[in-house]
């Protein structure tokens, strides 16, 4: 029986296309997620985030008046953000490399290219559940660690060894 594990999860879908919102809602429902709110742009999403807690955000990239990149930057960096650590999956048809890099640099957790499949969406959710990433705070960036690959055989030199400080969340 599907459902256990996600029954208390609160999700937020931010997408300007009603058909895509409906499809994403149906896919989350098939995981057992019941508490889902929807916004059609970044500005509406911020209002919703202030009103209710969200454990997972699925957002489109291109929306007006506020797009998914601005929304992500708000969530990660704004002093009024209710949860700067919330996982953000950006779903977009804009799959050009520079746009994906812009999404990564804004602080998204996962990027999912349209056309979407249930398999791909669930794989991104599984990645968040199974391998939560460390967060990085440095000049000009706050968000999930952007380095995905770890080379255990790397012999050094560890040039930034004394730059690091593992710390508690704020």
């Amino acid at each position: 029986m599907s459902g256990p594990g996600f029954e208390n999860l609160k999700a937020l879908i931010v997408e300007d296309n009603a058909h895509m919102r409906s499809l994403l809602r149906a896919l989350l429902n098939s995981l057992g997620v019941k508490d889902i709110s929807e916004a059609s742009n970044g500005q509406m999403a911020i209002e919703l985030l202030r009103e209710r807690k969200s454990d997972l955000v699925l957002t489109d990239l291109a929306m007006k008046p506020m797009d998914g990149l601005e929304l992500t930057r708000y969530i990660r960096n704004n002093d009024h953000s209710p949860n700067p650590f919330v996982p953000i999956i950006m779903i977009s048809g804009h799959t050009e490399k520079y746009r994906v890099e812009a999404a990564r640099d804004a602080g998204v957790t996962e990027f999912l290219a349209k056309p979407i499949t249930a398999h791909d969406l669930f794989a991104r959710v599984a990645e968040i559940v199974e391998r939560p990433r460390a967060f990085v705070r440095c000049a000009g960036y706050f968000g999930p660690d952007r380095r995905r690959r770890q080379n255990d055989d790397y012999p050094g030199p560890w040039r930034r060894k004394d730059d690091y400080q593992i710390t508690e969340a704020r």
Binding site: H19, A118, V136, Y164, E168
Partner: protein, 159 residues
């Protein structure tokens, strides 16, 4: 020599910030994500959404055709088609829209001259594929491949 300067990078380990799910729930959630029953439910959800998505693709095709010389409107409609069509099972339609969007995006990004004939060829091919009973036919795939080759050639000529 001790390093007394303020750290430049702060790493916050996953255990020290609130996670999406607690550990016991995460284990159950992973089971749910990988369960065959979940895949079946998702497939049913996708299939239920398909008629509405196909209708939406056809609406965007009309919007794209109406846009004529308004390239901003045309791009927006083509972008919606590329996002939707393959999910709605309209594979060739989606692939041609993908090529058109990449072409228009590259042209805008590098400040080059848009070839309206290339745009018109794509619009016609997208409309034909979308309105065909089965858009995933060999001729449609061949047209998609030829248009992609044409775009690649034209972009390389301009670079």
């Amino acid at each position: 020599m001790p390093n007394n300067s303020k750290p430049k990078v702060q790493l916050i380990a996953p255990d020290s910030y609130p996670q999406m799910l607690s550990k016991p729930r995460a284990a159950r959630a992973l089971h749910t994500l990988r369960a065959p029953e979940t895949a079946v439910k998702a497939q049913v959800a996708m299939e239920a959404a398909m008629p509405a998505m196909r209708a939406a693709v056809l609406q965007y095709v009309e919007e794209m055709e109406r846009a004529a010389d308004d390239m901003t409107r045309l791009f927006e409609a083509a972008h919606e088609i590329r996002g939707f069509a393959e999910t709605a099972g309209m594979v060739t339609t989606g692939r041609i829209a993908e090529v058109l969007c990449r072409y228009m995006d590259d042209i805008a990004r590098f400040g080059r001259q848009l070839d309206t004939t290339i745009v018109a060829l794509h619009v016609t091919a997208i409309a034909r594929a979308a309105r065909a009973e089965d858009d995933n036919v060999r001729t449609g795939q061949a047209v998609a491949a030829e248009l992609a080759a044409l775009v690649a050639k034209r972009l390389s000529e301009q670079s």
